[in-house]
Amino acid sequence: MASKIKPSFETTAWRWMRYSGILLIPLAWFHVYLQDVIVGVHAINIDYVAVRLADAGWVTYNFFLLLFAFAHGMYGLRQVMFDYVHKERTRRIFSILLLIVWLVISTIGAIALAMGARPELVQ
């Protein structure tokens, strides 16, 4: 038997949830370790954030953190939604809404990261 099975949406969504979960482990833990242990919360101020967000590498890092964490959470939320919503049409509407929320918030987050922090506006 050589025929491959057709990839379904559920398969792709599940795979995305697993990969994002695996990626979140180093991304989130390094973020916590860096900010809370190496730098320390008391040393973090607007200048520190501005320096960090001026670096394209850190912007990319933060964007991936946002993207994967949010996608992972949205998948979980969709699974929980299925527990309470049983009509196929309503499920589809909620799924599309979750996708839109994910896209909008990720875009807003990406714009915020790209714009960086501007200490002069705070001071």
Partner: protein, 236 residues
């Protein structure tokens, strides 16, 4: 020892529309089974109590019920293991018809949807039988042990809330054929399980593995099915 037995009662035909409990104090041995206690009550105290039982030896799977909150076969649950205060209820997630008897139709409909039978259009090489190596048998042997008692499916929190989910038992029985080297419809089954209500609804709560009276590694079987789907199917 004296056992305090609490039995779930529901019988709309006899006017017991609201589920309630009847309680009994029974003299029992530690090695008595919960089924023995139920038989004692039914035979000597109240003949209206209803529950399914057939072989009474853990093979037919008809007496799956919730004993002290956990799905078990009443014929395999010993008093010394479950304690002297025993609550017996029907399995969850299927409509209760009467006392411990639930409507198994949704469970078997789900089971049948995955074609739980060998599909092979070819004539066997020797014209008689399809041979298999011990290694090929080992690949799916664990899931052949299923007795369709529904203990796994009705212990699954996803199944309780989502009737579209096929449930662990259906996936276990699909696994039994998907990984059988003699079967030719593995990928058809995997496509069904890749869709809504299929294997990806499993949240790996492990309730099914704990509930299985045959000690099948149910969650592992579901994970193997998920892997088979994401890797594009099974080739024998």
């Amino acid at each position: 020892m004296l056992v305090y037995l609490k039995i779930y009662r529901y019988n709309p035909e006899a006017g017991r529309n609201v589920p309630s409990f009847d309680t009994y104090n029974i003299e029992a041995e530690p090695t008595d089974r919960v089924l023995d206690l139920l038989e004692h009550v039914k035979g000597n105290v109240d003949g209206t109590i209803s529950f399914r039982r057939s072989c009474a030896h853990g093979v037919c799977g008809s007496d799956a019920m919730r004993i002290n909150g956990r799905n078990m076969l009443a014929c395999k649950a010993l008093v010394k293991d479950v304690g002297t205060e025993i609550t017996v209820e029907p399995i969850l997630g299927l409509p209760v018809l009467k006392d411990m008897i639930v409507d198994m139709e949704p469970f078997f409909n789900s089971y049948k949807s995955l074609m739980p039978f060998l599909i092979n259009e070819d004539v066997p090489a020797d014209g008689k039988e399809r041979r298999q190596t011990p290694e090929q048998l080992e690949r799916f042997e664990d899931t052949t042990k299923c007795i369709l008692c529904a203990a796994c499916t009705t212990s699954c929190p996803v199944f309780w809330s989502d009737e579209q989910y096929v449930g662990p038992a259906t996936i276990v029985n699909a696994h039994r054929f998907i990984f059988d080297s003699r079967d030719q419809a593995a990928n058809t089954r995997l496509e069904i399980l890749a869709d809504h209500g299929g294997a990806f609804r499993c949240r790996t709560a492990f309730n099914c593995t704990e509930a299985c009276p045959r000690e099948i590694h149910v969650t592992q079987a579901i994970a193997e099915v998920k892997n088979a789907i994401t890797s594009g199917g099974v080739e024998h």
